[in-house]
């Protein structure tokens, strides 16, 4: 690893100063870990041959997010509020919000924690393992270990493009060390951070580790950077 790190420092003096945590923080920015953002996610999944779809509107700021289900009509009006690790589910017709766990499945291979789980740097300790290539692109291979037991995944192998500083591939592991799903990321969107254009995630494709045909695709669109007021994430004002 020392050798690998040595190569990295030698080849790119700017990045040479970056620690694995800083690499992770930079890559998080391209997946939504910025102050105040709104976007839409189209979720499509194929699970054991069955197709499902959902459209959600996400408002996120720091560690908080609100997901509103827009379609299909049978789920329209549902809301999922995440205040850090606390999650509540709100169903139309029922005024009492139900506290739910991050493990509860959202749809297909996506957990609730996936839709706004953008803060890997805050949730995981990162170690630079080696370099690897993904689709011909040279990447840092980071080993992410959960800081606490409360995150959706205990361990993640995460490939971050050396040139673009964005995560392009991930493998998710259980406590027992078994890989249970993998994901690839595409960055067809652009946002402005500090008046500089930055690539932003446009697609996350989650593949089941055992049944490879079970695939969930999350397509990100209508991205708007804007201040999201605290009241957006307040249960007293949200349920109506």
């Amino acid at each position: 690893m020392i050798l690998v790190a040595g190569i990295v420092f030698y080849t790119n003096p700017v990045l040479a100063e970056m620690t694995p945590k800083e690499i992770l923080e930079k890559s998080d920015e391209a997946r939504g870990s910025v102050k105040g953002i709104e976007w839409e996610i189209k979720l499509k999944s194929i699970e054991n041959g069955r197709k499902q779809s959902r459209t959600l509107k996400i408002k996120a700021c720091d560690f908080n997010s609100l997901a509103e289900f827009l379609s299909p009509p049978k789920v329209k009006g549902r809301k999922l509020l995440m205040i850090d690790r606390n999650m509540w589910f709100i169903k139309p017709g029922l005024r009492k919000p139900v506290p739910i766990s991050p493990r509860q499945k959202l749809m297909g291979g996506a957990s609730n924690g996936d839709i706004a789980s953008t803060n890997y740097a805050g949730d995981y300790d990162a170690t630079l393992v080696s370099e690897d290539t993904v689709n011909g692109e040279l990447c840092y291979l980071l080993d992410l270990t959960a800081i606490n037991k409360k995150v959706t995944y205990d361990r993640i192998k995460y490939w971050v493009s050396k040139k673009r500083l964005i995560g392009v591939k991930a493998e998710f592991f259980t406590v027992s060390g078994k890989m249970f799903k993998s994901a690839t990321f595409e960055y067809g969107n652009n946002i402005q951070i500090e008046e500089k254009p930055k690539p932003f995630v446009s697609k996350m494709i989650i593949t089941d580790a055992v049944i490879k045909e079970n695939v969930t695709t999350m397509t990100y669109s209508k991205i708007r950077l804007r201040k999201i007021p605290d009241s957006t994430f307040n249960l007293n004002l949200l349920v109506r």
Partner: protein, 448 residues
Amino acid sequence: MKKNLLPLIIFIFLACFLWKPASSIAAEPGGGEETESSKLLEELKEGFEYSIRFLTSGAYQDVSNISQNPNNDFFRIPRYLTELGLRPDACLNFRRLELSVKPRLNVEWRAWEDGTRKGDDEFDNDLFINEWLTRMRVTEGLFVSYGRENLQWGPSYLFSPSNPFFMDNGRGNPKREVAGMDFARLVWLPGMSWTVSLIANLDEGRQEFRYYEFDKTYALKLDYAGQEEYAGLILSHKESDRTKLGAYGGWTATDALLLYGEGVVSRGSNALYPKNAGNPLGASMEAADDDDSSFKSIFLVGGSYTLEMGPTLTVEYVYNGPGYSDTQADAYYRLRQDAADAYALTGLIQGLSRLTLSRTADPKLRFLRRNYVMLQYNHNDIKDVLNLTFRWTQNIDDGSGQFTSIVECFVGDHTQLFLVGSVNSGGRDTEFRTPLGCQCMIGLEYTF
């Protein structure tokens, strides 16, 4: 039309008022003005949300002949019930103002097979506003509102002891909406983690207080949401009653395990207890602990665990401090039986019987006894079409129990078939041996 539709009219008026200038100006030629009006129109469109649900259901209710409902003449519960309901929800969020309204149209048919109404049937229709709200954002963190709301909070399923306004949290039958009451609220957000609310319940709204008068209730509520925990403290006072301190809290212990608790404490209680009296029944229901200065508490602790496969298992324990002891329960059932025996008589004793049964029906206790356990299995979105909830509530003190099942099955993107059923079990003179032995509601919900 049982209640006025003024809020709906105000809402439509405001929506039209806000909509019309925007639409008309948008059509006018002109540079800056057109841009401004287009923006306004866009803002209005973005802030407007609506949904329309149509429900139809049929219910069978098995009426038990127990002392609380002698020969079904006290509650007069219909055996068969069919309902048609139209439930539109609309909300307009425009700048500092938020308006929402939930008008309801219900058409019901009921038929009786038990008691003096045996053989009767009737139609009823009702157009009303179950909930409406006008909310103004005064500053970034300060909100004032008035409206008819169903205010619910707290993590528990069985009931929410920290809520001084609503006994029913709507979880028993999610297809029957809890009737809203009128609230004025001031909500202040001093920061992301804290919320302070002043709440005044000023009118009964759609709630029916069958046996008692409605009393205004005021509450000061403090909420906290941390990284993996949340909590709330509620100080409330009901006019002509007492001050209560309620609290709730929850902790996301792991990504699968949630632990939580809820409770309320007060000095004394307004619950009714059977007491010896010099009347023909020999006893009456009295607020015996009304002037008691000792602390009475109700608390609930619970936890839920989500399995890798998807289902969530929940367990809750309730300690109901003001609930009846064995001796008090014996006296309660004895008095209820005596009142039931006198129900068919004529004269003053019949009046006394009715009064006594109205008090035994609602002794101002959510649960009659002291110790309860609830177990729940819940699995949603099975194969994207099926939601299952099975719940067992056990009265530890008298051995009776109640099983509730809620099954929802989606057919396509708009239609849901549902079944809500409950079966009660328990010997004579137990809490869950209720006037309804079992009930089953089958229906269809269509979302436009």
